[in-house]
């Protein structure tokens, strides 16, 4: 499903990712961990092409990113549901419309939007906040909206960047369970996190990044 082959990424003279190689199979759930600044977010950004690799080859499903035409980038992104580390909610849209946006960019009919959007909000326990605006929500609530937006269109791949960073342990456990349920239905999931509780004892692959190097692969 996802394959990195000798991938490197530089910002100016700084090496952010160096010679990364890994493979994640369809339907797998995997974690990327490592200290702050290790390159976790950058690695995820390379997958949805918010950043382009400077060296090496990346394959995501049928997309060969190195040779992907610019016009196909939206198509790639629509096959992915991403939870951004900084949420990236749209402040002048309601919570409902933020989540619905994920369906609208996919060209879903207006009449087929309401049910799944409310359904996704229910999964993150925010159904009652549908008509609020992002600024009216706490950091953790905003984070859960971002999660709802990533899962609502049932993409084949979910990338979650620190999805429990703003959540208390209990809520974090709930979100972790939600991801596992989605994964069981066949969705490939990659989660970048420092929170060891998310993968401890999960039996899933954990990639360890440090200063841009992939220093280990363990089973959580």
């Amino acid at each position: 499903m996802i394959k990195f082959k000798n991938v490197s990424k530089f910002f100016d003279s700084q090496t952010v990712l160096r010679n990364i190689n890994f493979y994640i199979d369809r339907g797998e759930m995997a974690f990327v961990t490592g200290p702050s600044g290790a390159g976790k977010s950058t690695l995820l950004k390379l997958i949805y092409l918010d950043e382009w690799p400077d060296e090496g080859e990346i394959t995501v499903g049928d997309f060969h990113l190195t040779s992907l035409k610019l016009s196909r980038v939206p198509l790639l992104r629509r096959s992915i549901g991403a939870v951004f580390q900084d949420f990236k909610l749209i402040n002048n849209l309601t919570i409902f419309d933020n989540v619905a946006l994920s369906l609208r960019v996919r060209g879903i009919n207006e009449k087929d939007i309401k049910t799944p959007a409310h359904e996704a909000l229910k999964k993150v326990h925010l159904r009652h906040k549908a008509e609020d605006y992002p600024q009216m929500l706490s950091g953790g609530e905003q984070q859960r909206v971002a999660i709802a937006r990533a899962i609502v269109a049932e993409p084949m791949l979910i990338l979650a960047d620190e999805p429990t960073g703003n959540l208390d342990p209990n809520t974090a456990t709930g979100i972790s369970r939600l991801f596992r349920e989605i994964n069981i239905q066949g969705t490939t999931i990659i989660i970048a996190t420092h929170n060891r509780d998310l993968f401890k004892g999960s039996g899933k692959k954990v990639f360890q990044l440090d200063a841009g190097h992939l220093i280990g692969e363990e089973v959580g």
Partner: protein
């Protein structure tokens, strides 16, 4: 189909950014009003000048000393020509009688005339649709070539002056129309561009979620055409006020203004032109941005 949503978000943006939108609608409206008044002037000028030729006539002077038969042949000849509406023969005797009638207060002018110095003539009226400047010239040449015709007189200079005047008014109008239209395009262009930059962050997020260029652009194009549409509607109101002001008020002073005609087509044309120019402006504003 994301179209209903595009309309919804365009409407939301129109309301949210109401001041900039109202301002550009007003600008578009006043520009379209200038377009309307220019076209209105052109239209009425066209109407007025196209009526003139109804009265357009030529006078064919016959050579002195031609026989009655020859005169009759010429008359018959002219009668059969398709471009000639009707003809009137004025013999030199009739002409002299008319002249004497005109000069009856000063009959001494004609005293001592043994011989009638006037020539017989034929006055002919051209059919309306044949009266163009070049046609009149051709017909005049043709008439001069007829055996027995001495000279042809027509209001050459008048026709030419009207023609020239009309031409220059047309040319100036076209320049005005084009520059104002370009102005409308520019107004919607800048408005949409400003709105686009205000929403830059939002659009970045749209792109990360996989929105296509079309999905992102459509609301802006709808917004641009809405600005054009409302500008067009407003300018109709302005144009009607202007029209009634000149036909009712000013015509009391200048009666000829009562004849001005306001074509109803304008009422449909203005919003349509507004929408068209608005779409062009917004397309230029966002069409070339790399999404």
């Amino acid at each position: 189909m994301a179209f209903p949503y595009s309309i919804k978000s365009a409407v939301r943006s129109l309301i949210k950014e109401k001041w900039i939108n109202i301002l550009s609608i007003l600008t578009v409206a006043s520009s379209l009003l200038i377009i309307t008044l220019t076209s209105f002037t052109l239209y009425n000028l066209e109407l007025a000048t196209s009526r003139l030729p109804e009265r357009f006539s030529m006078i064919v002077y016959l050579k002195t000393g031609i026989s009655k038969e020859e005169t009759q042949t010429i008359i018959n000849n002219l009668k059969n020509r398709p471009e000639i509406d009707n003809i009137k023969y004025i013999s030199k005797e009739t002409a002299l009688k008319e002249l004497k009638q005109k000069l009856k207060d000063a009959p001494y002018i004609l005293e001592g005339l043994d011989e009638n110095p006037l020539a017989s003539s034929i006055e002919l009226k051209l059919k309306k649709n044949f009266v163009t400047e070049s046609n009149v010239n051709i017909i005049s040449k043709m008439l001069k070539n007829i055996h027995g015709v001495d000279d042809v007189y027509y209001g050459e200079k008048i026709a030419e002056t009207i023609h020239l005047l009309k031409r220059s008014v047309e040319n100036i109008s076209i320049i005005i129309l084009l520059s104002i239209a370009a102005g409308v395009v520019f107004v919607t262009y800048s408005t949409v561009k400003i709105l686009f930059y205000r929403k830059k962050d939002e659009i970045e997020i749209f792109k990360l979620l996989g929105a296509t260029g079309g999905f992102i652009r459509t609301p802006f194009i709808i917004e641009g055409s809405a600005i054009g549409f409302f500008g067009g509607v407003l300018s109709i109101i302005g144009a009607l006020i202007f029209y009634f002001a000149i036909t009712y008020r000013l015509s009391a002073v200048i009666p000829i203004l009562k004849n001005l005609v306001f074509p109803l087509e304008f009422l449909i044309a203005l919003p349509v032109i507004g929408i068209f120019l608005g779409i062009v402006g917004s397309l230029i504003a966002i069409g070339r941005l790399r999404l």
